[in-house]
Symmetry: C2
Subunit: 194 residues, 2 copies
């Protein structure tokens, strides 16, 4: 059973208190998501994994029978998102990004095919979203793909202002055991009105 806490969707983010801020310091978003996903696994709440970074291997050597050593390879641009898995049967799919900006999230850090991918997941009734951390402010938000697409459709600017996150996204409060507890937010949304 998930121990549910209600974070109403339109709740305005509160300033995290000093203790939370200190606890969070030094951990980046990826580490926090790893810990959160491990917590979900350990407590059998959801099965979510980070996908490996896509790499094109050009050369491999075999210094021993048992081990292959890659000696030339290059990073590829990801065609999908970084994280996916399952929660209560539903496909979960999201991308996570950190920004140093205090005012806006630059859309240039998302690839077009990542947005198209998340749109496709949502069209197929999966749950697709973006997690954005404003590191300097120590504020993390969950923005559903529909609200991301709305912004792109209605705006010509190449960055989403923090005010749009405050209005449309859900603030993810820091939790020591599950630092980025997005499943609680997804749960509230999918069980809304039931």
């Amino acid at each position: 059973m998930v121990n549910m806490v209600n974070y109403p969707n339109k709740q305005k983010p509160k300033n995290p208190n000093l203790q939370t801020y200190t606890a969070n310091r030094g951990m980046n978003l990826e580490e926090d998501l790893n810990r959160t996903n491990q917590y979900y696994l350990d407590h059998d709440i959801a099965i979510i994994h980070k996908k490996p970074t896509p790499i094109t291997v050009v050369n491999v050597q075999y210094p021993s029978r048992s081990q292959a050593k890659i000696t030339e390879a290059y990073y590829k641009i990801a065609s999908t998102t970084d994280y996916n898995g399952v929660y209560q049967g539903k496909a979960i799919d999201f991308e996570a990004k950190e920004t140093q900006s205090k005012t806006a999230f630059s859309l240039s850090s998302l690839h077009d095919h990542q947005v198209i991918h998340m749109q496709a997941i949502a069209r197929h009734q999966g749950i697709a979203f973006l997690i954005v951390r404003f590191s300097t402010l120590d504020e993390t938000y969950l923005l559903h793909i529909e609200d991301l697409l709305d912004f792109v459709k209605l705006n010509t600017r190449k960055s989403i202002p923090l005010s749009y996150f405050k209005e449309k996204a859900t603030f993810i409060p820091y939790h020591y055991l599950k630092p980025v507890d997005y499943i609680t937010i997804i749960h509230s949304r999918t069980h809304k009105g039931s």
Copy 2:
């Protein structure tokens, strides 16, 4: 809309005719799955991707500002399965294996944590299965995780005989445009009796 063809679950596999056999020759299972998943994407039937191979990067050089060259890296053992995504909102998760054997599929080609992962997906109401191709016979089967776990529970042998696939798995007939059309089988199963 998915153009559905019914392949009843317990149907005994038919010998593929010569034309099918010839068409299939030379393509391995991974290529066939890539083509199938691309067909699903192009026709907006399902969003399924192969995960990148997990690699541990040890050394990276930067010969130019724009490109990072990986000069030392090693393959990691996969902790999850190779393929996942969404079909009609449901999380889909599977592993695909090829064997040259004409009589059995060796369980040593699956890692324990892959089986545990598929079991977890199923427990969370996702759809988890194994696709096995007996290359020499040119026969491909879909075995649901439940039937895989049943076999492991009831047997001490380290390989699953072909006869078990003929009895419990579903034969995947070769199709030119979607060579390994597993979604049709998943669809029949999830809509059984409706």
